[in-house]
């Protein structure tokens, strides 16, 4: 049951990064090319506010959607020099404690990001796009989603290490 919901979560994270993030990146590419095309061929600002859209919406959304998958696939760079010594029970215990700190970091960040997103919604915070404004909360909302998903993964890894340290499921 736990296993299956974890796999489902993995699929969801992949979908976010691959479909959502990929589309955002494609949109950034298209906006950039169209802006240059408009400037030199049509002599006009083809998509007013393209720069704002990339900066305030497409790019942050892409980053937040890509984060959980990048985290799950362990692509975050780190020093690996102690890894050979971290295999025993004590090593696993230490690894588990390090992950516990990571869990705390994600929890704190997810919590404050969620408060921020809610506040953005309540106070009708906006981002400027060209001459108009778009609501800010949909973008702000993606930060707690990303860190929440990373929190779940970190908790799983942390439990795994503690189990291994205690000799079960190793």
């Amino acid at each position: 049951m736990l296993r299956r919901s974890y796999d489902a979560l993995g699929k969801f994270e992949w979908g976010l990064a691959a479909l959502g993030g990929g589309l955002c990146l494609l949109a950034i590419l298209a906006l950039t090319v169209l802006t240059v095309f408009g400037r030199y061929v049509l002599h006009t600002d083809l998509i007013p506010g393209a720069f704002n859209m990339i900066e305030s919406v497409l790019f942050p959304v892409m980053v937040f959607w890509g984060l959980p998958l990048a985290h799950r696939e362990a692509t975050f760079p780190r020093l690996e020099i102690l890894d050979p010594w971290m295999q025993g029970a004590l090593g696993k215990l230490i690894a588990g404690l390090v992950l516990l700190i990571e869990v705390c970091v994600y929890a704190i960040v997810a919590w404050y990001c969620a408060r921020y997103a809610i506040k953005s919604f309540d106070t009708a915070r906006a981002v400027q796009i060209g001459t108009g404004t778009w609501p800010a909360w949909p973008v702000a909302m993606m930060a707690p989603v990303a860190f929440g998903l990373m929190l779940v993964e970190a908790v799983r890894l942390c439990l795994r290490d503690f189990r291994a340290a205690l000799g079960r499921g190793a």
Binding site: A17, A18, G21, G22, C24, L25, L26, I28, L29, T32, V33, T35, V36, Y40, F51, I54, E55, S56, L58, F59, P60, M62, V63, F64, W65, G66, L67, L69, A70, H71, E73, T75, F76, P77, R78, L79, E80, I81, L82, D83, M86, I94, A95, V98, I101, E102, C104, V105, I108, V109, Y112, C113, R115, Y116, A117, V139, A140, A143
Partner: protein, 433 residues
């Protein structure tokens, strides 16, 4: 806690969790949060933490990273690395030193259309490694040379690390790209010199001195020409003032997409995979920026950058010493940390010093990017070296000896030239339209 106690506490936190293998981004974020908490309790979190995270991710200047990554992805999946090397192989023949040099040059050319080194190193290790061994180099040296050649992607513009520097200092990224062209060429020459001096051959290997017999497929030539065209689009566009570095990334990615698809080298699946990989790598880099943002807030709060400025006050009159010290800091940072992390960590601390000493930020940036990029080759964390070794399943230890040596020589030779003759960095950008 006073700010000095907090600084000691946070430094200890940073060192311990970094060594214990926590990812750099989370070490930075955790240390920043712990430091802010130690100094001010939770007072800073509501107003600062989340707004900073969303704010750090809302950056136009960093968004162009994803476009350069995408361009490189299209080219990698279109197997352009292999073709570049194939052309070099054809030109060099089965002669030992020329083939080694051709490997370096094709790494450099690929670097001119790609922003980061690890993937290129891996591809070259697989592709060039066996050929280099055939002409008499040891396996160890062949893999090392592949790593070195691939790492040029970070030194030859365009380079992701320059985009980070530009976004932190507001030096136009296009100027950094153009300014790095001559130093990049110098670095290639330096590596070729190292190849001549340190080249390691198998005992008794007969120096085969014949033309390569392999037929050169037209598709390889097409790929070669395509890369040259792409280089022209990017650098010509920036140099001619036609578009900004960000737009160059977009047009480069678009050109690569259209070209690779037209040459039937990538299909829909490859395009999709390229998008996903670029998103993942961008996110991975951005979490470092986000983490560094939290850490940077703690540093500002502790006033460490200002105290550093006060401490180096006497040195302001001797900018050369100051610059040398700071470059050393970047080199050491590059040894230990991911390049982007070094940049986002160090620049906010030393920028006030650079400004006070009136150091040319373009000149310094090109040198700093160069120093950091050499870290791709050095232990304990040399991503290019790791990638090359992983690709051919070779132990890392012996490879680091050679790649580290190349990096050290380049660090000394090329940076001395840049310090003695700043014109090699600043002249070309001053000619931008």
């Amino acid at each position: 806690m006073t700010s000095h106690e907090a600084l000691i506490f946070v430094s200890a936190w940073f060192a311990v969790f970094l060594i214990l293998g926590q990812s750099v981004a989370i070490v930075l974020m955790g240390a920043g949060i712990a430091g802010m908490f130690a100094m001010m309790g939770t007072r800073l979190f509501d107003g600062l933490l989340a707004a900073d995270i969303v704010g750090a991710a809302s950056s136009y200047s960093l968004s162009i990273i994803s476009l350069y990554l995408l361009m490189a992805q299209f080219l990698l999946r279109g197997r352009v690395v292999e073709d570049l090397f194939r052309v070099g192989y054809r030109l060099a023949g089965k002669r030992r030193f020329p083939l080694g040099a051709a490997t370096i040059v094709s790494g450099g050319m690929l670097g001119a259309v790609s922003g980061s080194g690890a993937a290129t190193s891996a591809a070259l290790a697989v592709m060039a490694g066996p050929q280099l061994q055939q002409v008499g180099y040891t396996k160890r040296f062949a893999v090392s040379l592949a790593a070195v050649s691939g790492s040029l992607a970070a030194i030859i513009p365009p380079s992701l690390i320059m985009i980070f520097y530009g976004s932190l200092t507001l030096v136009p990224v296009g100027h950094l790209f153009i300014g790095s062209m001559i130093p990049g060429l110098l670095c290639i020459l330096c590596y070729i010199g190292c190849l001549w001096v340190f080249g390691e051959t198998k005992p008794g290997a007969a120096p085969a001195e014949s033309e390569a017999d392999a037929e050169l497929p037209t598709s390889a030539v097409a790929a070669f020409i395509f890369v040259v065209v792409l280089m022209f689009v990017i650098f010509g566009g920036i140099y001619g003032g036609v578009f900004t570095a960000g737009e160059a990334g977009g047009l480069g990615a678009f050109t690569a997409l259209v070209g690779m698809a037209a040459l039937r080298r990538i299909g829909l699946r490859d395009i999709f995979d390229s998008l996903v990989d670029s998103v993942k790598v961008t996110s991975m880099l951005m979490i470092i920026v986000i983490g560094a943002q939290a850490f940077g807030r703690f540093l500002s709060l502790s006033r460490a950058p200002r105290e550093l400025l006060a401490a180096v006050e006497p040195l302001l009159a001797q900018p050369t010493v100051l610059v040398a010290l700071m470059l050393l800091a970047f080199f050491i940072g590059g040894l230990l940390l991911e390049s982007a992390a070094v940049m986002v960590l160090l620049i906010p601390i030393i920028l006030p010093v650079l400004e006070a000493a009136q150091v040319d930020l373009l000149w310094f940036g090109v040198m700093a990017c160069f120093m950091i990029s050499l870290g791709l080759l050095t232990p304990p964390v040399g991503l290019a070296t790791y990638a090359a070794c992983a690709a051919v399943r070779h132990p890392v230890g012996p490879i680091f000896r050679t790649t580290g040596l190349f990096a050290l020589v380049a660090a000394v030779v090329v940076s001395l030239i840049m310090v003695e003759f700043p014109g090699v960095v600043t002249w070309l950008p001053s000619q931008i339209q």
